[in-house]
């Protein structure tokens, strides 16, 4: 095998990957050092330590309201001394992004490019804000990107090879997708009309239904399995859709918090058009690839699908009031682009230079769009990246204060983990906490006055407090406490009541 054919998998490639990994890690440390944290990451970690810290470690402790796979990945960190901190989700993000780059590097073996050119491409991919955001923000979006990348690889293989592995890959990837990210449903539905561009014409003419069954059946089984597990553990098949706190609902019940949903929620074509505009700004390289591959039927179809698929998914997800920001899906274009580059011809200098130019423009456009339209978390991330301290003053952080106090005053405490997840994360573990999935909690909440040592409850006038299970069950608890309990903590909208004799 010649040097150029080794792609990024050779020694030079490994060195580059190592530096990219180190860079991403350093960047994450830098961002976290500047006070950035992702709500979702904290929530995931709190869920994991809550579930694993329970008296009985059960799958259902993780609840059925959020995809489980990212949580499973966090489980090992709970048992590794030194890594059992809230930084674990960020570590997972970095590892997943490195895995994606590694996978890409392997697939790039087929593209005969020099190491130098491949290094440039890798740097340009990583420098895009969408990739950086995914890799360093601690969310599970990097896992989604890996899945999306594999989805596109499968689609490309179906177009070019029409081999059975591609169909199986696509079907299995969709299953994994569902257990990683709630957007999977929209990504799946959006691909349905596009399958006619991917699959061989003969199969479509003879039996389009078979095609959909082969690609879609495992996904349907996955959704059915999830519904069944909801029925087993929560008593309702559609619990993961009907429960107001379900991550599968996206922004549906909080439309007024998201400008995107306020503007386009319930519509399909407008968000589609607008997101097309987003795509043109953040990924003009997609348009270039479309033009570049116009003379190659196979590649053109793949590029066309890459461009259209996320847009349709954004349209559908917005029409269902799920999507809170187009970048939740648009970020995946980076992964699709990586898959695309493993197939695109760029041997001539002109082709390569044009590609680099368009990728550079994409980076500039992406950053501009990120800064201009990002949601509050994205904005905080950008600021943290710029070195601005985004940390909320410790004294003003209610959950952090509560968590520290609970850590200092360890007592069996009843609290609703969905309200207090940041406090649990700040406490460091869930030992002796009575959380809503535990039998003790379920039994205690049936009593007029729960037989517990201590309860923590948020102010019911706040958004957080309104959804708190203890407030719903005991509406006067925050203000009046229970007979036989004394107020031992009252700070920044959180109160802790403790039984007097304890």
């Amino acid at each position: 095998m010649n040097k150029t054919a080794r792609g990024l998998a050779g020694r030079e490639g490994s060195v580059l990957l190592f530096f990219l990994a180190a860079g991403l890690a350093a960047l994450t440390v830098w961002i976290l050092g500047n006070g950035f944290y992702l709500e979702g990451a904290t929530q995931s970690w709190a869920m994991v330590i809550s579930a694993l810290g329970a008296d009985e470690v059960l799958l259902e402790n993780l609840t059925m309201l959020t995809p489980h796979f990212p949580l499973y990945l966090l489980v090992p960190f709970y048992y590794i001394p030194g890594l059992d901190t809230g930084a674990a989700p960020y570590l997972i993000s970095i590892m997943a992004s490195i895995f994606l780059l590694f996978l890409w590097a392997r697939h790039l073996r087929d593209v005969e490019l020099s190491q130098f050119r491949l290094a440039i491409l890798a740097i340009l991919i990583v420098a895009h804000p969408a990739f950086l955001w995914a890799a360093t923000s601690g969310g599970h979006i990097t896992l989604t990107m890996v899945t999306f990348y594999l989805l596109y690889r499968a689609a490309q293989h179906i177009i070019s090879d029409h081999d059975l592995h591609s169909y199986i890959s696509m079907a299995v990837v969709f299953v994994i997708f569902f257990f990683i990210d709630g957007t999977a449903v929209y990504i799946f539905v959006a691909l349905i009309p596009l399958l006619v561009l991917i699959a061989p014409m003969r199969t479509i003419m003879v039996s389009p239904m078979s095609l959909y069954l082969i690609v879609g059946t495992p996904f349907v089984f996955a959704v059915g399995t999830w519904a069944y597990m909801n029925w087993i553990f929560e008593g309702e098949f559609l619990y993961f859709i009907t429960n107001s706190e379900s991550a599968f609902l996206g922004g549906m019940l909080k439309i007024n918090e998201y400008p995107w949903l306020m503007d386009y929620g319930g519509q399909f074509f407008m968000p589609l058009l607008v997101s097309f505009g987003y795509l043109l700004i953040a990924y003009p390289v997609s348009l270039y690839l479309l033009l570049d591959t116009a003379d190659d039927n196979y590649r053109f179809r793949a590029t066309f699908v890459l461009m259209l698929h996320p847009l349709i998914a954004i349209g559908i997800a917005t029409s269902q009031f799920y999507l809170t920001h187009p970048f939740e899906i648009l970020t995946l274009v980076s992964a699709g682009l990586m898959a695309e580059l493993t197939y695109v011809k760029m041997q001539t200098k002109r082709e390569f230079v044009l590609l680099v130019v368009f990728m550079l423009v994409s980076i500039v456009g992406g950053w501009w769009l990120f800064v201009e339209t990002g949601n509050p978390q994205m904005i905080r991330w950008v600021k943290a990246l710029q070195g601005e301290n985004t940390m909320v003053a410790v004294d003003e952080d209610a959950e952090l204060q509560l968590g520290k106090w609970l850590n200092a005053h360890r007592q069996p405490t009843m609290l609703y983990e969905r309200s207090a997840y940041r406090a649990i994360a700040a406490r460091g573990d869930a030992d002796h906490l009575m959380l809503s999935f535990s039998r003790n909690f379920k039994s205690a909440i049936r009593e007029r006055i729960p037989s517990v040592n201590q309860l923590a409850v948020p102010d019911p006038v706040t958004e957080l407090g309104r959804r708190d299970l203890l407030n719903i069950r005991y509406p006067t608890l925050y203000n009046d406490g229970f007979a036989g309990f004394k107020l031992v903590y009252d700070k920044l909208g959180w109160r802790v009541y403790r039984r007097k004799h304890v």
Partner: protein, 696 residues
């Protein structure tokens, strides 16, 4: 008449002398003997053992041969000019002898060809059935050699042994020389005379070999003993201990049991997923390409034996005969054995009535127990002349290029490749629900699992037909186990243990799928019983078995063969427990399903079963039988049928282990074909009638 004889004598003597075969003194002695006692000079020289027969005819070849075979056939009016021209062309293409070609084409009857050959070699043409042989000349230990090479010691004339042969070539003469161990000369006869005569005289020998060869030579591999004593002791101890443990710790025991079952089923599912992924690789569809087949030089093709064991299958005989005539292989290199049971007059008569070409040979298997297909095949092995051999069933329709592909596959594969399994599928796919399920199952099995087993070096349970063997290895393995009702599965495992490889081939033989559930249950119960037999046989010495196969092979066998049995037997219990819980919401099972067990069983129930259904869909998709795909949803009902068959097989394993459960063929109303399209309306088979492969 006298003058030419004198000239001939002089010339023979001179030629032998000039070639240094005999000395002047020997020639003089021979001439003196001829003058005093009469007889032919050649016979005298041979009888004295001064020169070996093969050398004798090598030197005197031109002397004896009268005319060319083609000319003689034409001269006698057995073929016409056009046929002769075609014959010459075919000979160039196939590289075989005129006699073989005219027989294969059915242009000349074997008897007449014998006459021509006799004339050609200037030897008597004897009818062995009328001019019986001197049985005292037969060496009973050499019966197989006689039947495999088509010669038999006939009589002793003037002190010289006369051996009846069908054809004359140096290799045969050398072999005869080595076998008879004394000076001999030959006479010409028809191959059917030799086959029938040897069957008449050697029935007991061939039968004995067919039934007991494996049990005598390799008793550890014979299923004639269902449970060995150590196995019975193990079962007894195990069951006793289990009862004690259950008595002391009832809940824990059942929890551990359910856990073990769940993990086993989970791993079983995992293996099947891996096999589907590995077997789904495109390279297995191109083991042999059409280009390679087209580029094949037919002259280089070996003799191929095709075994057709049949019993009461008169109706399917014309179909398989037609399919074999359509085979893209030099007909003269085919050695087709119609293996019929002696009491099956119906099929024997049908075979005679069809007037099959000379490449079809009827073998009548004498009545003896066990009356199984492997026994019949073992019997036929003694008459096979091919370097390669395969088996087809009466209702089979192999793809025409299958034999050529098998030859190429052997050439491309490693030297230790002993057998290559072609794919099996069904032509009556869309006949009913059962045939659809069966087709998907077979597609999954042969198109995915077997190639993957080959790639992963896990023992391959061979299919019942279309397995292409190297004949020498097959004989070395002592053939099939006549006591095992899935002798094919057993042989595959034995071959792997002996260091041979079992390969796969991208060519399909289409069969008739069972159309009726009772018939299907009969067939499947036999298969599962056979799997149990095979499992018991090979697990007699598990440690040795592990050493021979290695970890992957051993565990692959446990899960692939053992898993098939266990899944079938356990499925009803698991489903029953589930449905009782589902409909009654009883808490009775709760103690037996702690969280970890619950999660695994949930996974098995939802994800594993879902994906197993999906695998069925994939099989239809790969075969481009798109109409089958939606039907895959109903496969759980098919699994229940499998369980039914599993319990029937288990019952029979204990009560009637060697009974060959009857499977009726010819129930289909579809035309036998290797051109299958599930979306095409079926062509109805007007000549359909009931038959069965009912070995007992």
């Amino acid at each position: 008449m006298k003058q030419p004889q004198v000239a001939s004598r002089r010339r023979i003597g001179e030629m032998l002398l000039s070639n240094g075969c005999i000395t002047q003194q020997q020639l003089d002695q021979a001439l003196a003997q001829q003058q005093s006692q009469g007889g032919r000079l050649g016979d005298i020289v041979l009888a004295n053992g001064w020169v070996k027969t093969v050398v004798f005819y090598d030197v005197l070849s031109d002397h004896f041969r009268r005319g060319r075979i083609g000319d003689l056939l034409l001269e006698k009016g057995l073929i016409d000019e056009q046929q002769l021209t075609e014959l010459i062309l075919i000979q160039k293409q196939w590289g075989t002898r005129f006699g073989d070609i005219v027989l294969a084409k059915g242009w000349v009857k074997p008897y007449f060809l014998g006459q021509v050959l006799a004339e050609h070699f200037d030897k008597p043409n004897v009818d062995l059935m009328k001019e019986g042989i001197d049985e005292s000349l037969l060496n009973r230990d050499q019966l197989s050699t006689y039947s495999e090479n088509l010669f038999v010691p006939w009589r002793r004339e003037d002190g010289l042994l006369k051996v009846a042969v069908v054809d004359v070539n140096p290799q045969l003469l050398e072999l005869v020389d080595a076998v008879v161990g004394e000076p001999f000369d030959f006479v010409i006869t028809s191959k059917f005379d030799i086959i029938w005569l040897l069957q008449e005289l050697g029935n007991q020998y061939y039968s004995e070999k067919a039934v007991h060869q494996l049990a005598n030579a390799q008793p550890e591999y014979s299923a004639s003993e269902v449970f060995t004593t150590p196995q019975l002791v193990f079962f007894f101890v195990w069951m006793s201990l289990s009862l004690v443990v259950i008595y002391i710790w009832p809940i824990l025991s059942f929890t551990v049991l359910i856990f073990a079952i769940s993990v086993f089923l989970l791993l079983n599912f995992g293996l099947r997923m891996v096999l589907t992924w590995v077997g789904g690789d495109q390279r297995f569809d191109h083991v042999v390409t059409d280009e390679e087949v087209a580029a094949l030089d037919e002259r280089s093709l070996p003799m191929y034996s095709i075994l057709l064991p049949m019993y009461h299958e008169a109706a399917t005989l014309p179909n398989i005969a037609k399919s074999l005539r359509e085979i893209d292989y030099p007909l003269s290199k085919l050695d087709i054995k119609l293996i019929l049971e002696q009491d099956d007059d119906e099929t024997i008569d049908k075979a005679k009535e069809l007037g099959l070409e000379g490449i079809f040979e009827i073998l009548r298997v004498p009545d003896s127990l066990p009356k199984t297909k492997p026994k019949a095949c073992n019997y036929a092995l003694h008459f096979c002349r091919g370097k390669l051999a395969t088996i087809y069933d009466g209702e089979d329709a192999p793809e025409p290029d299958q034999l050529k592909k098998a030859v190429i596959a052997f050439r491309k594969s490693s030297k230790n490749t002993a057998v290559i399994q072609a794919r099996l599928n069904y032509f009556n796919v869309a006949e009913n629900w059962l045939t659809r399920m069966f087709t998907m199952e077979y597609s999954l099995w042969f198109d995915f699992y077997l190639p993957a087993l080959d790639a992963l070096r896990i023992p391959i349970p061979l299919g019942g037909t279309s397995n292409h063997f190297k004949m020498d290895v097959l004989r070395e393995m002592d053939g099939w186990d006549p006591y095992n009702v899935t002798e094919d599965c057993d042989l595959g495992v034995r071959l792997t243990q002996s260091g041979y490889r079992v390969g796969v081939l991208n060519s399909t033989t289409f069969e008739e799928a069972n159309t009726s559930i009772p018939n299907w249950i009969r067939q499947r119960s036999r298969w599962l019983k056979g799997y149990m037999q095979s499992y018991l046989v090979h697990m007699r010495r598990p440690i040795q078995f592990y050493r021979k196969l290695g970890g992957v092979g051993f565990w692959g066998f446990q899960f692939f063969i053992g898993g098939t049995i266990v899944s079938a037997l356990l499925a009803p219990f698991m489903f029953l427990m589930y449905f009782i819980w589902l409909f009654t919401h009883t808490a009775f099972f709760d103690p037996y399903f702690p969280s970890i067990v619950l999660y695994i069983t949930l996974f098995n129930l939802a994800i594993a079963n879902g994906f197993l259904i999906y695998l069925f869909m994939l099989s239809g998709f790969k075969r481009k039988l798109y109409g089958l795909i939606p039907w895959a949803i109903t496969v759980p009902f098919y699994w229940l049928l499998q369980s039914w068959a599993g319990y029937k097989g288990l019952w029979q394993l204990i009560h009637n282990p060697f009974y060959w459960e009857k499977t009726h063929h010819g129930l289909t109303s579809f035309e036998v074909s290797h051109d299958v399209d599930v979306n095409k309306p079926p062509e109805r088979n007007k000549s359909s009638s009931f038959t069965s492969d009912q070995f007992q």
